[in-house]
């Protein structure tokens, strides 16, 4: 892979480690060569591919939708209520609609929503260097997948064109769905309010097995909830690359180690990165550009 394929990455040791890895696994005859069918890469979404500050994009949608549904909730209430209240909010705002209606509601919101800090549309609050990396990996024969703690249905409604990743390669948390057929105008899938799978921590490794059935050779994440995904990738039979995205840029994004809303930390991830010689992406140092669009 040529540095020109990653124009938003500075010429640092981290960037060189990515370029060298891709060359090693894609060059026929290399001792680390990996056939195309085995070139699977997995990425966390919030905080890894896109900004999760000041809150997950999905929560911003949920707050607007809750207000529309007559149950307004403030950010302060969410912070005080923690994960329990967040799940309650998601159940309220993501259930009792058909899958088609939900996708339409998400798209309608994304079309008009503005990021509270930059004022940019949410599709422009994604990390340009990571969009370039996903694209360059695909060009080099990789299949890129997203494994997010966020909802599968939420991501698929707006993000496939943003990241250039097909809907089936966007996996996240999953709620209960019922098949309904009243015999009139064809069957419908109704979203319930029960959470079936929270795609975080060890579940990300399990989901990778369930949805892909192959061991990735590249994994990128930014919190302790991504640790097992990176560990699972590191223990595979091929040479592999682990990227820990470290939020170090207080000027162009936000410098933080602990998610202020849900408290997801980075201690374990960064410790594992140091112990396993994983690449830590220092956003301030390694990225020439963070947001490519109006978010800059």
């Amino acid at each position: 892979m040529n540095a020109a394929e990653l124009p938003s990455w500075r010429e640092t040791a981290t960037t060189r480690s990515i370029l060298e890895f891709v060359d090693a696994v894609t060059t026929a005859g290399s001792p680390d060569f990996v056939p195309e069918a085995d070139r699977v890469a997995v990425f966390d979404n919030d905080g890894t591919l896109s900004s999760e500050m000041p809150m997950y994009t999905q929560l911003a949608f949920a707050l607007v939708r809750a207000a529309e549904l007559g149950k307004p909730t403030t950010v302060e209430e969410l912070k005080a209520g923690g994960l329990g209240l967040v799940l309650e909010l998601l159940q309220l705002t993501h259930g009792s609609v058909t899958t088609d209606e939900f996708a339409e509601a998400v798209r309608a919101w994304v079309a008009v929503a503005a990021h509270p800090v930059t004022g940019a549309p949410y599709p422009e609050m994604v990390f340009q260097p990571m969009v370039e990396l996903v694209g360059a990996l695909e060009v080099n024969g990789f299949d890129c997948w997203i494994f997010s703690g966020g909802g599968t249905d939420f991501m698929r409604a707006w993000a496939p064109t943003v990241f250039g990743v097909a809907p089936h390669r966007m996996i996240g948390s999953v709620g209960k769905i019922e098949f309904e057929d009243d015999g009139d105008d064809g069957p419908r899938l109704l979203k319930g309010s029960e959470l079936v799978t929270l795609d975080d921590g060890p579940q990300k490794a399990i989901s990778i097995h369930q949805y892909i059935g192959q061991r990735p050779i590249l994994a990128a994440g930014n919190t302790d909830g991504d640790l097992q995904m990176l560990e699972w990738t590191a223990a595979g039979p091929h040479r592999s690359l682990q990227l820990a995205i470290h939020h170090t840029d207080a000027v162009r994004e936000v410098a933080y180690d602990v998610d202020p809303l849900l408290g997801a930390g980075t201690d374990k991830l960064l410790d594992a990165a140091a112990a396993g010689a994983w690449s830590v992406v220092d956003m301030a140092a390694d990225w020439a550009t963070i947001f490519g669009g109006a978010g800059a």
Copy 2:
């Protein structure tokens, strides 16, 4: 699509309906044109892509493995015990191993197992016309997926090369998996004995939403357990094709309407096919060849 792409299909009305459909959705400018990204096809496995007689391939494996584990079970006991005993047998023979160990056990069995009627290896007990159809659809820009009542892990261990379908596009029933990491030689995924999802009936439509996130435009099945998958496909926004595979050939395979082991019927599927003008594949009439290999 040219008839030459389906050499094992006779020149019948059914075959013509397939050729005409593929032409209509793949020809630019056609009123029924479907962009490549939306060309998704879904297939049941047992009885649709491969023979399920005298019993599901996975059950044949389970019986051998149960005997190895010291719990021999006969086919007569299975018939008497029904689905309950089948699930018990699957839990015994599919649990308490790592995902890697299980895949290895399946591959080791497939490498030596012989079909009880034909003596052929199981990878040759697949329907040659359907293998051709899957391949021809892929050539015509379709992504083909398998949604089976059988186990995801079982199918992925041996079937991807047989059908030319990547592991992540083989979806079936799923059992509980635990992530284990004792800190020594990397994490492992341990298969438990609890069934999480039985991928049959309405669940097939739900699984299609969960794993693909797009509405298929072609669906093929052979029992009432595939009905909702075909209904869900038929109700999509694009023109679509539904294929009901009817086991009518007593000479070259088995003529049956009800699965003798688990009792899965075909009444509802065939009624829906008649009502919805779905294509019914009459195996005796429509297929020049049923098994391409030693199963013939």
